[in-house]
Symmetry: C2
Subunit: 323 residues, 2 copies
């Protein structure tokens, strides 16, 4: 018996076939290229159709799990994914279920899949209360509370990028929230550009590219080479990440907070500094109890989570995990 897991990102599609014990036995990655709207749905459906028909004789794929880069509205079966043009209210469940027939289909948000994956096979194994902070282009969190995913009244819980960490309100916060505006991948690049535009005599390494082409990766590279602007940006991010960790610790009293996403990666080296910052701000007893760790599954966290969501559905685990 096999689980088919799909991790749909803004730019690529990852596909994995898992045993029900969580061994990843086949894997494939496809670019989404310039597809939008229905075309992304068709790519997904075609891929599922192919895989199901390849495995049709032995009927080995029993359940499908899909991680999506946005919000899955369970009551309507639709997806809102801001990075896929035309997916404001996309009827993904119906579309995939048509292809899948009597194979069960589960869809969940990427942030829920990240923590589910880490709980199943990664850094959150054995935890009842743990949080995965995904810092990539944006920032979101998958939150495990007493062994279950925190979903909220409308499946939108975990929007940590909107955390308020600094007064007064700035126009920058309107689009994506205060925390995300300067501590996400996009935020890091934006902050570097802002500091560059206000530092007239700067002649450092970040001047090599046109200012608008600077990315978070450039900032991390410059930091490693001792650049002053990059240091200023990263110091600011460490303060924000630490304050955000403090808020999550004070509110949720979790056993672990796990960092993942494209930015962690290069930012893993800062986890001790983030911890030191958080200690200043957080409820002190809860802070003593928490561990900050790097994702163990890295870019595969969503895929493992999608596979576990598929398993949950297959065994009617009903959203509460085996403990």
């Amino acid at each position: 018996m096999r689980l088919l897991a799909i991790d749909l990102g803004g730019t690529k599609l990852a596909i994995g076939v898992f045993t029900t014990d969580g061994d990843l036995i086949a894997e494939e990655k496809l670019p989404i290229d310039k597809r939008s709207g229905d075309e992304v749905g068709q790519l997904l459906s075609q891929k599922i159709k192919d895989l199901l028909s390849q495995c049709a004789e032995e009927k080995s794929i029993q359940s499908i799990g899909i991680s999506i880069p946005g919000i899955f509205y369970k009551d309507k079966g639709t997806v809102w994914a801001p990075n896929i043009p035309g997916w404001e209210n996309y009827p993904l469940l119906k579309e995939v279920q048509c292809i899948a027939g009597d194979v069960s289909v589960t869809i969940d948000s990427d942030r829920s899949c990240y923590i589910l994956g880490e709980w199943w096979k990664g850094a959150a194994k054995g935890c009842t209360d743990a949080i995965f902070i995904a810092v990539g282009t944006g920032i979101g969190a998958g939150i495990l509370v007493d062994g279950k995913i925190l979903r909220g009244a409308n499946d939108i819980a975990g929007a940590v990028g909107w955390m308020t960490l600094e007064r007064p309100f700035q126009q920058d916060y309107i689009e994506c929230g205060c925390f995300e505006s300067s501590a996400s991948g996009d935020g890091i690049a934006k902050l570097a550009r802002k500091f560059l535009s206000t530092t007239g005599d700067y002649t450092g390494i970040l001047n090599v590219k046109p200012v608008n082409a600077i990315t978070a990766v450039d900032v991390f590279d410059a930091y490693d080479k001792g650049d002053a602007i990059a240091r200023k940006v990263i110091d600011h991010c460490i303060e924000y990440w630490g304050m955000a960790v403090a808020n999550l610790v004070s509110l949720f009293n979790p056993q672990k907070i796990i960092f993942g996403g494209g930015v962690f990666g290069p930012a893993m080296q800062f986890i001790p500094a983030i911890y030191e910052e958080a200690v200043k701000w957080a409820q002190p007893i809860s802070m003593k109890k928490v561990k900050l760790e790097a994702s163990l599954l890295g870019s595969n966290a969503g895929l493992y989570g999608a596979a576990y969501a598929a398993k949950q559905n297959l065994y009617n685990l009903n959203g509460s995990h085996e403990k």
Copy 2:
């Protein structure tokens, strides 16, 4: 069949006898006066002993629920209550269970009892996801997630007074956290004193008392009379309360946030302004879904919550509520 509910505060003890349907049929309030440590435990135990013996013949009291002003450590049965001297690790469960015999005893934190009470008989009726922000001397929150109280890994979740809302870190935050340091009852008085000490030419109503005797009540009174310093303090609090609401909305996606505690009271008039502030900061879809409301049970929220905790224990509801 009756439930005995006790709401232990820092300065007084409230006692209520409830039907299992939630009707409060007898009520009593006692001052704690200058009691500390064992004396508070003895007062509580004596009161329970008296009530049980009064009702002994008909055996009407079947379950006891106690709300405490701090943290109840379920695994050890002990209480940490910062406002009761000597209650760092007080073995309350054992002490009360000795008196209660075969009558069941449940202890829970005041913040959990507040949301439980409001869920049973107040503003959170019918909610699966709701938050009670208690703003009194300090600030805490009772958080209902998918019909269950959020407890965290060590029963310390909901310490919202420690939320970080402003950089850089200030020494004031060490004792009680950033949010609580200037938006609790104590914080309001402290902020007024701070503003007074830096406003040389002030001749307003807050000058009547010695500066160190000013309380939050004085600030609210002065605000109602149009005082400029009081307005500055309250405007700051509205900003903090709004930012805190925004964080809770973005993280939890709740149906309702309910304001209670000694400060709300006089601050209820500001709920529309708090809403306007929160709208600026919060995840916009979640913000549209949430309602901000005043506590319906007021100073009795803890008592109702303690009664419901007693009922839960009696019927082995195991921490998950009837829906």
